[in-house]
């Protein structure tokens, strides 16, 4: 299935891109699995999305937990903890 992945703030800078359309392999069906899948690219990806880092995720513009399911056509975003206000 195909999803749109978006990145913001320090993660966007570290990866050098703000979004991409991605065809997911079978078995990648949660936010945590997608994050692990992207980490497998190594380099900046492994670093910016490392398990030890606090990374927040949103699916279709709602913040979700790592176990949240993703489906075809979803917009999944990864970003650092927010610092507005």
């Amino acid at each position: 299935m195909k999803v749109k992945v978006r990145f913001f703030a320090s993660i966007k800078e570290a990866l050098g891109r703000d979004s991409e359309e991605l065809e997911l392999p079978a078995g990648v069906a949660t936010v945590a699995a997608l994050r692990a899948h992207l980490r497998e690219r190594g380099g900046a990806w492994a670093e910016a999305l490392a398990e030890t880092r606090r990374v927040t995720a949103a699916v279709n513009q709602d913040m979700v937990k790592p176990a949240a399911a993703i489906k075809a056509g979803d917009e999944v975003a990864f970003f650092p903890p927010v610092t507005g206000g």
Partner: protein
């Protein structure tokens, strides 16, 4: 209820005047966040930001009597002394207005997708999230 995310500055008096049109309103609480010490750029997630703030306002309305409310958050380049955010809540009585205003601000700090990048003398750096902000949002769950 008004939620706006914008680059432009806002006028506190103008915004609160707009919240005083109902004769049942007896209390108007407002908070303005201001840039402290260093220039910064605020990035956000267009679409999700407005949606996240609207959800926080709905939560506040479910808990307190909120007759009207305005939230304005700026993004882009800001310098020390600039206004960043306005939360203004109109209610019949001050207890609801104060509590809802603080609740919205505390939740906004941990749930609305904004990120601050400070331009320090040593170069630009992303502001780290603070545990005290998480704690401030968390205490509302314990009925605090």
């Amino acid at each position: 209820m008004k939620v706006r995310v914008q680059q432009e500055d806002f006028d506190l008096t103008l915004e609160t005047d707009l919240l005083r049109n109902d004769p049942r309103i007896g209390a108007l609480a407002s908070f303005v966040g201001v840039v402290r010490e260093v220039p910064m750029t605020l990035e956000h997630y267009p679409g999700m930001t407005e949606r996240a703030i609207a959800k926080i306002v709905e939560e506040a309305r479910a808990r307190w009597q909120v007759m009207d409310c305005t939230v304005i958050h700026r993004h882009g380049a800001l310098k020390p002394g600039d206004q960043i955010v306005l939360v203004a809540v109109a209610s019949a009585h001050r207890g609801d207005a104060f509590a809802a205003c603080e609740f919205i601000m505390d939740y906004l700090k941990t749930r609305a997708p904004f990120w601050k990048k400070e331009e320090t003398a040593q170069g630009a750096r992303w502001v780290e999230a603070r545990a005290s902000d998480d704690a401030a949002a968390e205490r509302w769950k314990q009925g605090g």
